[in-house]
Amino acid sequence: MSNYYLEVKNLTKYFGRRLIFSNLNFRLSDSGIFGISGPNGSGKSTLVKIIAGIIGANKGEVKHFLDGKEIIPEKIHNHIGFVSPYLVLYEEFSAEENLLMFAKIRGVDYDKSRVDYLFEKFLLLKRKDDLVKTYSSGMKQRLKFIFALMHSPKLIILDEPTSNLDDEGKNSVYELIREEGNKNIVVVASNEKNDLEQCTETIFLENFKQINQ
């Protein structure tokens, strides 16, 4: 069990003058798989980006706590793993070089055994020294999971996790979601039925509000 939780309070986001959502309130704690779903344009991606601290909200706040202490915004990035279709890794480097660099820039140790385990799991071990440029889109998507999990984050945010993946890839993702969901918080933003079936709790975004289920 992790002792990580995050609180979302009165979260409101506009793009320009267009309201995306208003007054979201929820709390995700300890462990579990949480889904975020809603029609196109309802702000799923926006919400997960705000949670990850990549963009700011107009009103309200997202607070992350570890061991009962709030994590300052400058440091949140090291506790989060993030996967999304619009994430791009450095193509001029090989997969392993990418991960090594990221560990150094994060200022954390490069956990080689964990990375190799992840490479194995996502069937990329043989290709880890090839430039990312040469990867297919499905392989890139699998590499992003390794990127998201290499530093053992407490909060794993998956935005449309199974896009570009074949069945084999999807299965290893689901396996991973269940595995991580036992120890950590996994947030899945998706409209795929199969993705959402993994979740224990789902938040629906519709008409600028959340509908809990």
Binding site: A52, I54, I55, G56, E74, K75, H77, I80, F82, S84, Y86, L87, V88, L89, Y90, E91, E92, F93, M101, F102, K104, I105, R106, G107, F147
Partner: protein, 221 residues
């Protein structure tokens, strides 16, 4: 924190070695700019004023042709999000700043050497003053160019807007540097150029502070 920024710089440096986005373009730009000036001068003898001015003109335009890469390349490749996920805004800005500072020093050293070799009136009498101007001026140039590059990258605007936005910001720095370069040609002492040196130092300090304060807003949109 410092080692994180250094590692981010290393990433950019190695990426630069593999892709050679900036280095080739900068080197060619320096050669082109200086030869255009030499052709247009022909056999005329130009005075010290003009030499000092043209020196900083070449530096300004060379900086404008290459320094925006630091952020524009991330935005073009779509790796901005990746950077946001692995580093705090402060680390990102520091890393990019280190990269640009080194780039500015390298290219300006080359420009200075070429000027020394090719321009008759580029004779420095007070070398220490020139060195101080060179170092302080380069830092100011790198800081301002880096923060404007961050704006340009987010604005999604290519090339042309960069010098337009940078020029008014860099103008006080460049004017003071031209003045100080002239002083170093004349052999003016440090004592007499204290005021101008103080201006560049305060420019550097203010720009560094403002850049770090404002970078958060640019980076998080």
């Amino acid at each position: 924190m410092n080692s994180k920024a250094y590692n981010l710089f290393l990433k950019d440096f190695r990426s630069e070695l593999r892709t050679r986005y900036a280095i080739n373009a900068l080197a060619m730009f320096i050669i082109v700019a200086i030869s255009v000036i030499l052709f247009s001068i022909g056999n005329e003898k130009i005075n010290e004023n003009l030499t000092a001015g043209l020196f900083w003109v070449v530096i300004f335009f060379t900086a404008m042709s290459g320094l925006s890469r630091a952020f524009v390349s991330e935005e073009e490749r779509g790796t901005t999000l990746t950077l946001q996920l692995i580093a705090s805004p402060t680390t990102v800005f520091s890393g990019k700043l280190i990269f640009n500072v080194i780039l500015v020093f390298a290219m300006n050293a080359i420009i200075a050497l070429l000027y020394g070799a090719l321009f008759e009136d580029f004779i420095i009498k007070n070398f220490l003053l020139f060195l101080a101007t060179f170092i302080l001026g380069n830092i100011g140039l790198a800081v301002s160019s880096t923060i404007i590059a961050a704006i340009i990258a987010k604005a999604g605007a290519k090339g042309t807007l960069y010098p337009v936005l940078s020029f008014p910001i860099l103008l006080p720095l460049i004017l003071t540097c031209v003045q100080l370069t002239l002083f170093s040609f004349d052999g003016t002492s440090f004592e007499k150029s204290r005021f101008e040196l103080a201006i560049i130092v305060s420019y550097d300090v203010i720009m560094i502070t403002v850049s770090y304060l404002l970078f958060d807003f640019i980076w998080k949109e």
